[in-house]
């Protein structure tokens, strides 16, 4: 008789909870690149237009948010040092989001801000509320209230603020509930999402996982608390400045606070890297570290917008800013981290019952590394060319960039579904 872990608290989140999020996100990325290829001319116009709205929300919700929701259900136990409270709430979150996102995106694409958009937005809010309750109860059940857990919980609260505000903005299109029209509040909605949700969550998870992958001796929780304070202070000051309608240059204050937080986080990662035991780092972690640093690109663009607002064509800079966030920073992180998390989930699913009974492949062998590298190359080419196309307002250049981004999405989907459908060879056991 064999017994394992009789006093073990390590019952992990079921793969059945996590994997649908990964599959959904991969398909969303493919759809977003198809939308971008069919709407390149929209990137020469004002940023508030139906295709741009549809693409942005496919990227922000279908791609970025869905993969974070999936990965975080798996990684929360590591972050909060406790079990995920409920698989049911996780399923519920997936069902609401997976229905709500395409409905909302369709409504934006057709610019139908009536009942359809409201219905889609409501479903998305229900998904976020399910997720928040699950995380809240998971943290409540643990004794450890560490900085990573607080980062995650705060990020989800900001996510709910973003999606609720988004829903109200949709409503405001047909019923005047705000003093100004919805377009006026777009930057508020976008920045609460980008800084409050994506940045806080990425730092909360990254500050735990990157040192873990590096097997680093470096620990500095106090520094991470400073990062937390600076970024939240930056975001809250931004909200105040927005509502007080202060001079544009005052926005340099939140930029400086958030920038200082990001630099401090960079310093944390640098020291983790310098004090690592594991010298040979795989490509997935290398790309993840590099992509975290890519937040610098949109921050430079944003500073340029604030400083040179009246001197240059800000329309292009605003589009470039959004593009460098969703197709730059967030996409680069996901392209790297997918292959650092997903193969292990599938490996556990396929081989945990076969452990010790024969030779099992390494999780890295579950996807093609050649395609992973090709994916990185096409992505970088596409990102650079498309960014150049936005600056030049040139549809031909934008089309070339969009084709490379589409190839990136196809290669990414190939590897993701290769992992998803992986089965053990019958002659191995």
């Amino acid at each position: 008789m064999i017994t394992t872990g009789s006093n073990s608290p390590i019952k992990n989140t079921s793969y059945q909870v996590v994997l649908p999020f990964y599959g959904y996100a991969a398909v969303s990325f493919l759809i977003a690149t198809l939308l971008i290829l069919s709407s390149t001319s929209a990137f020469t116009e004002h940023y508030f237009n139906p295709p741009t709205l549809a693409i942005t929300h496919t990227m922000a919700l279908g791609w970025g948010t869905m993969i974070i929701l999936g990965a975080s259900h798996q990684l929360f136990p590591v972050l909060i040092e406790g079990k995920l409270h409920s698989d049911f709430l996780a399923y519920l979150s997936f069902i609401f989001a997976s229905l709500g996102i395409p409905i909302l995106v369709y409504a934006f694409y057709k610019f139908n801000m009536g009942g359809i958009a409201l219905f889609g937005g409501t479903l998305i809010n229900l998904a976020v509320i399910s997720y928040l309750i699950n995380l809240w109860l998971s943290i409540s059940n643990t004794q450890s209230k560490n900085v990573h857990a607080i980062f995650s919980l705060t990020a989800v609260l900001w996510l709910l603020t973003t999606t609720l505000l988004g829903l109200l903005l949709v409503w405001n299109f047909t019923t005047n509930i705000f003093a100004e029209n919805s377009v006026h509040y777009l930057s508020l909605h976008a920045h609460i999402g980008i800084i409050g949700w994506f940045l806080l969550m990425i730092i909360g998870v990254g500050s735990r996982l990157i040192p873990m992958f590096l097997i680093s001796k470096y620990e500095n929780e106090k520094q991470l608390w400073w990062v937390y304070l600076l970024i939240n202070a930056g975001l809250i000051s931004f909200i105040f400045i927005f509502f007080l309608s202060l001079d544009t240059t005052i926005y340099l204050i939140p930029i400086a606070l958030i920038g200082a937080g990001v630099l401090l986080f960079g310093n944390h990662i640098y020291h983790s890297y310098a004090k690592r035991i594991r010298k040979k780092i795989d490509e997935q972690v290398q790309i993840s570290i590099l992509s975290v640093a890519m937040i610098i690109v949109p921050m430079i663009v944003l500073t340029s917008i604030v400083l040179f607002f009246t001197m240059v064509n800000s329309k292009q800079l605003v589009l470039l800013y959004g593009f460098t966030i969703f197709f730059g920073w967030i996409t680069a992180i996901i392209l790297g981290m997918t292959f650092k998390t997903m193969p292990f989930i599938i490996w556990n699913k396929v081989y945990s019952t076969k452990a010790g009974l024969g030779k099992t492949p390494n999780p890295k062998e579950l996807f093609s590394n050649k395609i992973f590298i090709a994916n990185g190359i096409t992505y970088l080419i596409g990102f650079i060319i498309f960014s150049f196309g936005i600056i030049q307002s040139n549809v031909f250049i934008l089309n070339i960039g969009a084709i490379f981004l589409l190839i990136t999405a196809v290669l990414y989907n190939f590897n993701v579904f290769k992992i998803l459908f992986h089965k053990a060879k019958s002659n191995e056991y």
Binding site: I10, V78, K280, A355, P363
Partner: protein, 107 residues
């Protein structure tokens, strides 16, 4: 390697298979990682107790590593009952990695 035991000879036999149990993420075996704290052989009850840890609590690969450890022990001692228990006291840290493990990670 600093594994507590009450039977050094049987420990040697156990190690031959435990050296093949890997942490899939780090790609290093559990012995050189320093995950195994104690192996106790209870001859009267025919039980073997393995006390081990993980590099982090709630490690996503934890269940597989425990299962692999149990299977490896069963291969060495097919007539025994194997019990693998997790311990997080003391918590694992980098100083528990063996010289060979450090050389592998530094290469």
């Amino acid at each position: 390697m600093n594994i507590k035991t009450n039977n050094s000879e049987k420990l040697e036999l156990a190690l031959t298979n435990l050296y093949h149990v890997m942490d899939p993420e780090i790609d290093l075996n559990i012995i050189d990682l320093g995950l195994v704290y104690e192996i106790y052989f209870d001859e009267k009850s025919n039980n073997i107790m393995v006390e081990m840890t993980l590099t982090t609590q709630f490690c996503p690969m934890g269940e597989s590593i425990l299962e692999s450890t149990a299977q490896a022990m069963k291969q060495s001692f097919p007539e025994h009952e194997i019990h693998v228990n997790l311990a997080f006291e003391p918590p694992w840290n980098q100083s528990m990695i063996s010289e060979a493990g450090l050389n592998f990670l530094n290469s």
